[in-house]
């Protein structure tokens, strides 16, 4: 250890080298190949060659803008729904959970312990035409007598909301849990109503959690294709479905690669604008 003692500054680099090297080779380099692939022309039988084919992007966007917009729209709605469902839940656990907090948290992340595909298939069962929910909705007149829940955009959005909800609830809980209760009491002592104390003290203090939660929900939601596949029809196809089938079924790699990069660019843009709007420079941990 003599060398390490004399040259302590190398130690952190040594510890990081293996992991950073791994991520460079299997995370960064692949993005280069994805970009290269997106500019190729050719076909699945005779192979593809690099030709600076920027037209792939125009083609892909022209043909699949519906699916792209639908993905962003579904992901946006699902993110809002997940927020509306989990904020009161996270608040309740943080402020009223008492000694049950840890148990309640386990219940919140419990869906993650059931294989993703299996829990989505469970929604297939719940929403099925002959299932109880559809029956109740029909008798209440929410949907028509031959109306369906499965194979609709409602089902797809509901599935996405469900599957990524813990990503929203956990950061919300983490930030609400850290809110200093004395600040809320101070506001109430100064004659703020509970509503005003919440809006002016608690909610602003929980904004870092809101920011983290919405981003962690929106990103995987926008790239998802499992919910659209299992709970929807081709009319609900998202950009993920197109990318998946182009890569793995019809082997149209250039367009699939172009669409992947377009999706990534759309997400980065939306997250950047969102960060600017929320002013996270001040909120960053």
């Amino acid at each position: 250890m003599g060398f390490l003692h004399r040259h302590r500054w190398v130690t952190p680099y040594g510890l990081l080298a293996l992991g950073l090297g791994w991520l460079a080779v299997f995370f960064v380099v692949p993005v280069y190949y994805l970009a290269e692939s997106s500019l190729q022309t050719g076909d699945a039988d005779f192979g593809y060659a690099f030709t600076w084919a920027w037209g792939n992007y125009a083609d892909a966007l022209g043909r699949y803008q519906d699916q792209l917009l639908r993905s962003l729209q579904y992901a946006g709605i699902a993110t809002v729904l997940a927020f509306v469902i989990s904020y009161p839940l996270a608040y309740w656990i943080a402020f009223r959970g008492g000694r049950w907090k840890n148990l309640l948290l386990v219940l919140v992340i419990a869906p993650f312990f059931v294989t993703y595909l299996i829990r989505t298939l469970a929604w297939q069962t719940i929403l099925a035409d002959e299932g109880p929910v559809a029956g109740v909705f029909r008798s209440l007149g929410i949907i028509g007598q031959d109306g369906r829940l499965l194979a609709t955009s409602t089902a797809v959005v509901a599935g996405i909301t469900y599957n990524f909800l813990p990503f929203m609830a956990l950061p919300l809980y983490a930030s609400l849990e850290q809110v200093d209760k004395r600040l809320v009491e101070a506001a109430e002592d100064l004659y703020a109503s509970r509503r005003v104390a919440f809006l002016r003290v608690t909610f602003p203090l929980s904004l870092p959690g809101v920011f983290a939660g919405t981003i962690l929900t929106f990103i995987p939601a926008a790239g998802d294709f499992i919910n659209a596949q299992l709970l929807g029809t081709p009319q609900q196809a998202m950009i993920g479905n197109v990318i998946q089938s182009k890569f793995l079924v019809i082997n149209d790699y250039p367009q699939a690669a172009a669409l992947s990069l377009v999706l990534m660019a759309a997400i980065v843009t939306i997250v950047a604008v969102y960060a600017r709007v929320l002013g996270t420079e001040k909120l960053a941990p």
């Binding site: 500054w9 952190p12 299997f26 219940l107 993703y116 469970a122 297939q124 069962t125 469900y162």
Partner: protein
């Protein structure tokens, strides 16, 4: 505000929270319930009758056990690899100030902020470009890649508040660097490392999207379910799903209890 109104509002919040929890747990109940179903046709959608035969022979469906074996092997290799690499990185990030630390922190966050489909697709283009046959080992590589960031985050959370003086004391008492690591550092961070190992094992065994892109002809458990979903999922899949659920919850509680006991002893 009157007492009655306040009472109503408090309970409104509780009712809303309980409703949200019900929503979260309902599909899990359905998975477990339908593992006891006795479907007459191929589709396990409607309740036909109670049976224990799915639980008596959970791997009675052809292909299910081989797929589960692949998943277990991949998860074991990938979680061990990612935990070893990620723990070293977490040590570097928490305990040393060095040039490029902020960059490394941001860089490690990126894989978690990338949609799975983009990560899976880009890895596939790499393997295609270098003509590397996809299969068991490309799945292991992919799983190590997406697990590293989660391991770093988990271990780092545990390392913050770590008392460096304990290591210095060991060094002062003539322990060399290696002995200090094995006898002082590792036991202190062990709960975090164990949690990271469990998390990456669970993430690996559950992963479908990235695996789907890099599996070649290899079939893991989620890929088996995906294939079965087209023709009708047998109830045995629910049994295996329920077993994974119960095992994960059990391990999580065991780890929490272990940590609590450790904290009590200290």
């Amino acid at each position: 505000m009157t007492v009655a109104a306040r009472f109503a509002r408090n309970h409104l919040l509780t009712a809303y929270a309980l409703l949200a929890l019900t929503y979260l747990l309902l599909p899990i109940a359905v998975v477990i319930l339908f593992s006891f179903n006795d479907p007459s046709g191929r589709f396990n959608y409607t309740w036909q009758g109670f049976t224990l035969k799915n639980w008596a022979d959970p791997f009675g469906v052809p292909g299910l056990w081989p797929a589960m074996q692949q998943s277990l092997q991949i998860a074991l290799l990938a979680s061990l690899g990612a935990t070893a690499v990620g723990t070293l990185m977490a040590l570097a990030l928490v305990r040393y100030g060095f040039r490029g630390r902020a960059f490394a922190n941001t860089f490690i966050f990126l894989p978690m902020a990338t949609p799975e489909i983009v990560m899976g697709a880009s890895l596939l283009t790499l393997f295609l470009a270098i003509n590397f046959q996809t299969g068991f080992w490309t799945i292991v590589i992919a799983h190590v890649t997406f697990n590293i960031s989660y391991v770093v985050t988990t271990v780092r959370a545990r390392l913050v508040g770590f008392d460096r003086h304990l290591e210095e004391a060991a060094m002062d008492l003539y322990a060399n660097g290696v002995t200090t690591f094995w006898r002082v550092t590792l036991p202190l961070i062990a709960p975090g490392v164990l949690a990271a190992l469990l998390l990456s094992f669970a993430l690996s065994i559950d992963d479908f999207v990235i695996t789907n892109f890099n599996a070649g002809t290899t079939v893991t458990f989620p890929l088996f379910v995906w294939g079965a979903a087209r023709v009708g999922v047998p109830p045995q899949v629910n049994v295996v799903g329920a077993i994974i659920f119960l095992a994960t919850v059990g391990l999580m509680f065991a780890n929490v209890l272990r940590q609590r006991r450790g904290a009590g002893a200290r």
